[in-house]
């Protein structure tokens, strides 16, 4: 630890902040703070945000409160080459929101066919079973694209990002963050 002891360890909630517009002014907030402050969404509708939160929370507990909907909304609103979404690296073509919309629609279409209601209205047990089947690409009559496995991987990675990829996330796991440069600047 001697080397590390010399570094400034990042504390507090700035690391992981994104630029959100509140009352016409751009402020840096964590996605969780943006959600708590009900910062208006730029691209996703309120209904899309709820559906996204339901899937993400099933994948990674804590994703809803960590602000997954605000994170995706903000990342879909920046110029595509600046987006920090895993799907950009995995060769998705912008606009990235199309991927999320198509994925949510495919999920709800399959849920309607199987349960007669959308994903967000399933019981927790049903939601877990649905995601388990989606992970292995086994929902019959899937109306993709995107394919089931790709949605599982991308939504899970985003949710893992907001829950575990911030200073708060590291603290939750009890490991030091050890930033050389803390993510305070606009991303």
């Amino acid at each position: 630890m001697d080397n590390i002891g010399r570094r400034t360890f990042v504390r507090g909630a700035t690391a992981g902040a994104l630029a959100f517009t509140v009352g016409g002014v751009e402020v840096l907030l964590l996605p969780s703070e943006a959600r708590a402050q009900k910062v208006p969404l730029k691209i996703l509708s309120a209904d899309e945000a709820l559906r996204l939160e339901a899937v993400s929370e099933t994948l990674v507990p804590g994703a809803r409160d960590a602000g997954i909907a605000h994170f995706i909304d903000q990342q879909c609103s920046v110029p595509p080459h600046e987006a920090l979404l895993g799907i950009r690296i995995n060769n998705a073509r912008p606009p990235f929101v199309n991927f999320y919309r198509a994925a949510l629609n495919a999920i709800d279409t399959a849920c309607q066919a199987q349960h007669g209601k959308p994903f967000a209205q399933l019981t927790a047990q049903e939601q877990t079973a649905f995601i388990g089947t989606m992970r292995v690409g086994k929902h019959p009559d899937w109306k993709g694209p995107p394919p089931q496995g790709a949605i599982y991987g991308a939504f899970r990675a985003d949710a893992v990002d907001v829950v575990y990829g911030t200073v708060e996330g590291f603290e939750k796991l009890g490991v030091p963050y050890m930033a050389l440069v803390a993510p305070k600047a606009r991303w």
């Binding site: 050389l180 600047a185 991303w187």
Partner: protein, 523 residues
């Protein structure tokens, strides 16, 4: 369309390959322009975050197909420094046997040069970027010229925990040579083991072009133009010389950059794409492609992980993304009846951050079981990584897709599949690593999925003449004396080690040769 003033050398791509050409040619007094598709990075601004780290990754659009599609998007570089600004800094070298696979085993291809031809250039690369390691420990496997400039990095329990098990299983370890400073080096600080190398090291301890060749090239007058997207190499009317390149700037305005020599250093997918898109009446199949070998013999390394979860704290949250230990034992023995063909390379001991490192170890988990796993893995998870070799096959290739980019030019389609030899050695390597990891008595041990596709190699291979290759051993194309290619695209075989040390050695050799013979090469 604006025509720029003519330069001696126009280089496409500001990764390590392009940066070396820029540095060597600028040092030789040549007027150099580097055209780079991405931004101009300042490493001091790199943010320590895996989320932010995606900001420095990007690739021009491409299609990936085949049984094992290449994950090109996460291998490609973008912006000054190329992929090296976020590479893991492992610095092994291809071994002597890798350069004569065909003559020794009757499979694959031979290089037109030997390991000995590259030996002095490995030394030069180590001096240029700063390498930490123990050359003496490696000499049991291959000749190493000079000792490395710095001693090995400090090790942590995440790697130390396997030492005994490796030895018992017949795989003696050596410290991994790494392009990271273990001490202060040429005005750059020593590493502080924070583990953020893969999102860009803000301290300068990470040996990248931003703190070596590119910085030096600029100091010697080379001009670097970020956000310059090269679409074509231009040729003269008779088709026997290149005359420059065509590119779009950040405002999407088109330019022509006339040049005496053009160096394509845009990585193994984009370089062939640019060559195809540069087709003319004289070069109907693309530049330097009369023999139809451009884009062919593409290779990836089979990538595998064996994961081990311990109850104790293995210090996985610190250290570097570079591995601490490696083994070349049995590397020379590429033949294993019924267990594939090709070398395997075992590595262990690297830092892991939660959202990418830990969560990717169990991609099957979600919900409460994932949350529980993350807690246990945060201090207890480590792994052994294995790369395996793939032989060069004609059917693995880059070609043009029917899809176009925003400027109406066809994008690259990468077709990649592993054959039975590669799959066999991937399985073999994974089983060897599994047995070793198990012998270290972790609470849980499991095999990761795969085979993954690490790195992109080949596609514009070097050889003895135009009957078997696109370029000579310096990267000069057989058909156009003033068109050069730089990077792993030149490799006829890949061994099973990370490529960048060998890329640098090959590139330094090619660039110095160009500098010495410039008057006979340039238009």
């Amino acid at each position: 369309m604006a025509t720029q003033e003519k330069v001696d050398v126009a280089i496409v791509g500001a990764g390590p390959s392009g940066a070396i050409f820029a540095d060597v040619l600028a040092r030789a007094g040549k007027k150099v322009v580097v055209l780079e598709f991405g931004p101009d990075w300042d490493y001091k601004q790199f943010v320590s975050s895996e989320i932010w780290g995606r900001r420095i990754k990007h690739a021009p659009p491409f299609q990936s197909t085949g049984r094992n599609p290449s994950g090109h998007g996460s291998n490609a570089g973008w912006g000054t420094g190329g992929a090296m600004i976020h590479f893991f800094a492992n610095w092994p070298r291809m071994a002597p046997v890798d350069f004569k696979v065909k003559s020794q085993y009757g499979k694959g291809l031979d290089w037109p040069i030997s390991y000995d031809d590259l030996l002095p250039w490995f030394d030069r690369a180590a001096d240029d970027i700063g390498v930490s390691g123990n050359a003496q420990a490696e000499r049991r496997w291959y000749p190493v010229g000079k000792d490395y400039p710095m001693p090995p990095l400090k090790s942590f329990k995440q790697g130390d925990i396997f030492n005994e098990a490796f030895a018992k299983h017949g795989y003696p370890l050596a410290p991994m040579p790494v392009a990271i400073n273990s001490t202060e080096y040429k005005g750059r600080p020593a590493c502080v083991n924070c583990g953020w190398c893969h999102v860009g090291c803000a301290s300068g301890a990470h040996g990248t072009p931003l703190v070596s060749h590119l910085r030096d090239a600029r100091a010697r007058g080379a001009q670097v133009r970020p956000f310059s997207y090269v679409t074509r190499v231009l040729t003269n009317q008779s088709g026997d010389r290149v005359t420059g390149v065509e590119y779009y700037d950040a405002k999407r305005e088109q330019h022509v950059q006339p040049a005496g020599v053009v160096v394509l250093a845009a990585y193994a997918a984009e370089t062939p794409r640019i060559m195809f898109n540069s087709a003319t009446d004289r070069h109907p199949k693309g530049l330097a492609n009369k023999n139809e070998l451009v884009g062919k013999y593409l290779m990836c390394h089979t990538a595998a992980n064996v994961w081990a979860l311990f109850d104790e704290d293995v210090q996985n949250y610190m250290g570097t993304q570079a591995n601490q230990f490696m083994s070349y034992e049995h590397y020379d023995n590429k033949t294993r009846p019924s267990k594939g063909f090709g070398s395997i390379f075992l590595r262990t001991g690297a830092a892991m951050k939660p959202n990418v490192g830990l969560a990717s170890a169990r991609p099957d988990l979600f919900g409460a079981p994932l949350a529980d796993f993350m807690k246990r893995a945060a201090r207890g998870l480590t792994r052994i990584g294995i790369f395996g070799e793939q032989m060069p096959l004609l059917e693995n290739r880059v070609e043009l897709a029917s899809d176009k980019d925003e400027f109406g030019l066809p994008i690259a389609r990468i077709t990649h599949s592993y054959d039975a030899d590669a799959i066999g050695s991937w399985e073999y390597g994974r089983e060897e690593a599994f047995a070793i990891a198990k012998a270290a008595n972790p609470k849980e041990v499991w095999r990761g999925g795969g085979p993954g596709t690490a790195h992109l190699i080949g596609g514009t291979i070097m050889g003895t003449d135009a009957s078997n290759s696109v370029t000579n051993s310096y990267g000069q194309t057989h058909e156009l004396a003033n068109l050069y290619i730089a990077g792993a695209g030149l490799f006829p075989t890949e061994g099973s080690v990370n490529p960048t040390n060998t890329i640098m050695a090959v590139t330094l050799r090619g660039a110095e040769h160009m500098a010495k013979n410039f008057s006979t090469i340039a238009s």
